[in-house]
């Protein structure tokens, strides 16, 4: 294989065709112009990143499946599978136009079904850019499945996933990436701590609060009971898949390669934040509860990844370490806080995506450098809280919008289709109740919780 590549490249470099087309319009000689080469390389990069982000759906699926009970596993995986399908449809029909179409500062209003848009955008073909953005949309939608796991009706979930991908996510995205009012203010979110993770995390918070806790999760005295996940191996596979996909999530958001310096920086920051998130969460849990808990440590790595998602291109690696470590600590405290408030989040979606999404957004204003593309220098460098203030405005408005709209959406679904399954079905398991099949057919899996 290597020999053939070497042979081809030697032949290509000495061939008269290549020598003739260098420096001229390539089409005349059948060669390729440097501009086309740049566009081609950038397109390949963005598409590979899109495929990685798509693969994160498998990561989310495995994490969610591993952290819930076996009797509900088929259900969560079906929700995870279908919400990407619904996101693909919704983001094509309406979502992309709302998010990136020309309009006003609040929402876009062109590009329904991608009609009437330019063939290239940001230096790459429209279709490649669409796929990349659609994968992000799917990621935001699937965050909620984990928070509302083990007691939500499937039909309601399908409706919700279409609405969030077609309407809610694109509107917030328009403010920040579609040239909307936050972007004009100088708000910066490189790969989506706010657009994807805060939106998904707080939609999950609204959903899980309206659903109320699982049967038996909180005792009469308010103390939380353990409803243990059934497969730590699946969950840890999921975390590694997410970490892997996140390299596409963050580095792909550069939307191009140029000399590789940006994507190199993004990649190292992404990795350091994840690693430190895992370490910090493990230390926190070890000291707090006496034993190093793998599930919390993995949540910590995910928290680090969420937190670095906004600042990844704007910070130095040392800052990525700080950001990841703090996120790992915050997520452990966040899980405890939710239990104190008796908000049942089976997989930790709210602390990981919602709370750490906000933290990551704020970190842009603390650790970001204007030399790397920010409107204002971060607090650590300039002592000026201007960028931090802008980031706070963005976070607060995004949270407020999501909480308001998702409350309406979930309440409407509750009134029409019904949000929560019946008690009998919840105890027997949603696999049988909703799908009439078992995730582990042929196994006698007993659940006494």
């Amino acid at each position: 294989m290597v020999f053939i590549l070497a042979l081809v490249s030697i032949m290509w470099s000495v061939s008269p065709v290549f020598a003739e087309s260098a420096g001229t319009d390539g089409s005349a000689t059948g060669g390729i112009t440097p501009d086309q080469l740049k566009m081609g390389l950038d397109t390949v990069w963005v598409l590979i990143a899109a495929f990685l982000v798509f693969f994160m759906q498998a990561g989310f699926g495995m994490v969610e499946a591993g952290f819930i009970r076996a009797k509900n596993t088929c259900n969560i995986l079906t929700k995870n599978f279908l919400d990407f399908c619904m996101a693909s449809l919704g983001f094509f029909l309406i979502g992309y136009g709302l998010m990136f179409g020309d309009g006003n500062g609040f929402l876009g209003s062109r590009g329904w079904c991608l009609f009437g848009l330019d063939a290239t955008v940001n230096g790459i073909p429209l279709y490649a850019f669409w796929l990349f953005q659609a994968a992000f949309c799917g990621a935001a939608a699937t965050i909620v499945a984990g928070g509302m796991a083990e007691r939500m009706k499937f039909a309601g979930y399908l409706v919700y996933s279409f609405i969030i991908s077609a309407l809610i996510y694109p509107i917030v995205g328009h403010w920040i990436w579609g040239g909307g009012w936050l972007a004009k203010m100088g708000f910066a979110d490189f790969a989506g701590s706010t657009v994807v993770h805060t939106v998904g995390g707080f939609a999950a918070l609204v959903g899980t609060s309206i659903l109320k806790p699982r049967e038996g999760k909180y005792g009469i005295d308010g103390k939380p009971n353990v409803l243990a996940g059934h497969s730590i191996p699946l969950a840890s596979l999921g975390v590694f898949i997410l970490w892997f996909g996140w390299f596409g999530f963050n580095a792909g958001s550069a939307l191009g390669v140029t000399d590789g310096s940006i994507i190199g920086r993004v990649a190292i920051n992404t990795n350091l934040a994840a690693a430190l998130g895992g370490i910090a969460a493990m230390i926190t849990v070890w000291r707090r509860f006496g034993k190093p808990d793998l599930s919390m440590a993995m949540n910590g790595a995910l928290a680090g990844l969420v937190a670095i998602t906004a600042p990844c291109a704007y910070v130095e690696p040392w800052a990525a370490i700080v950001i990841g470590a703090t996120a790992g600590y915050i997520v452990v405290k966040g899980v405890e806080l939710l239990d104190k408030l008796q908000i049942d989040d089976p997989v930790g979606a709210v602390p990981v995506h919602g709370i750490c999404g906000i933290w990551g957004t704020l970190c842009v204003g603390i650790f970001g450098k204007s030399t790397l593309g920010l409107a204002n220098n971060g607090f650590v460098y300039s002592g000026n809280p201007m960028q931090l203030g802008i980031q706070i405005v963005g976070s607060v408005t995004a949270v407020a919008f999501v909480v308001l709209t998702m409350t309406i959406v979930f309440k409407l679904i509750d009134l029409t289709l019904g949000l929560r399954v019946g008690r009998e079905e919840e105890l027997r398991g949603l696999d049988i109740g909703e799908h009439g099949m078992e995730a582990y057919g042929g196994f006698q899996i007993f659940s006494t919780s």
Binding site: G216, L427, G436, M437, G441, Q444, F446, S447, T448, S449
Partner: protein, 113 residues
């Protein structure tokens, strides 16, 4: 000495254990079982084909008790496991001929504890 065998719904186990603790019965064995009584099965489907599932998941408790504890244990199990619906389960009482504690070799009522 009696051996009390009870078949209950799996998700009622926590309630039954709590009720037993309140009556100061702490020792028991728990096994998983499949069973059916008056409860009918349910339907599942796989790739377009429907089938009946008739053996349902149950939990089997075994508690060895001295005479004085028999009624208390039965009351506790019923209090924890009863929902009023078909499928609550059954309790069997079996005479226990002998009981030996392995660690010390004690026999009889003292071994039950």
């Amino acid at each position: 000495m009696k051996l009390i065998i009870a078949y209950i719904q799996p998700h009622k186990l926590q309630d039954v254990k709590k009720a037993l603790c309140k009556k100061e019965v702490f020792k028991m064995s728990v096994t998983n079982a499949l069973g059916c009584g008056e409860q009918m099965g349910y339907e599942e489907s796989y790739r377009g084909i429907k089938f009946e599932v008739n053996l349902l998941k149950k939990v089997r408790l075994e508690i060895a008790v001295n005479e004085g504890f028999v009624e208390k244990t039965i009351e506790a199990i019923i209090e924890g496991a009863k929902t009023g619906q078909i499928g609550d389960g059954k309790i069997f009482i079996v005479d226990l001929v002998e009981c030996i504690r392995i660690r010390t070799g004690e026999r009889g009522g003292k071994a039950i504890g």
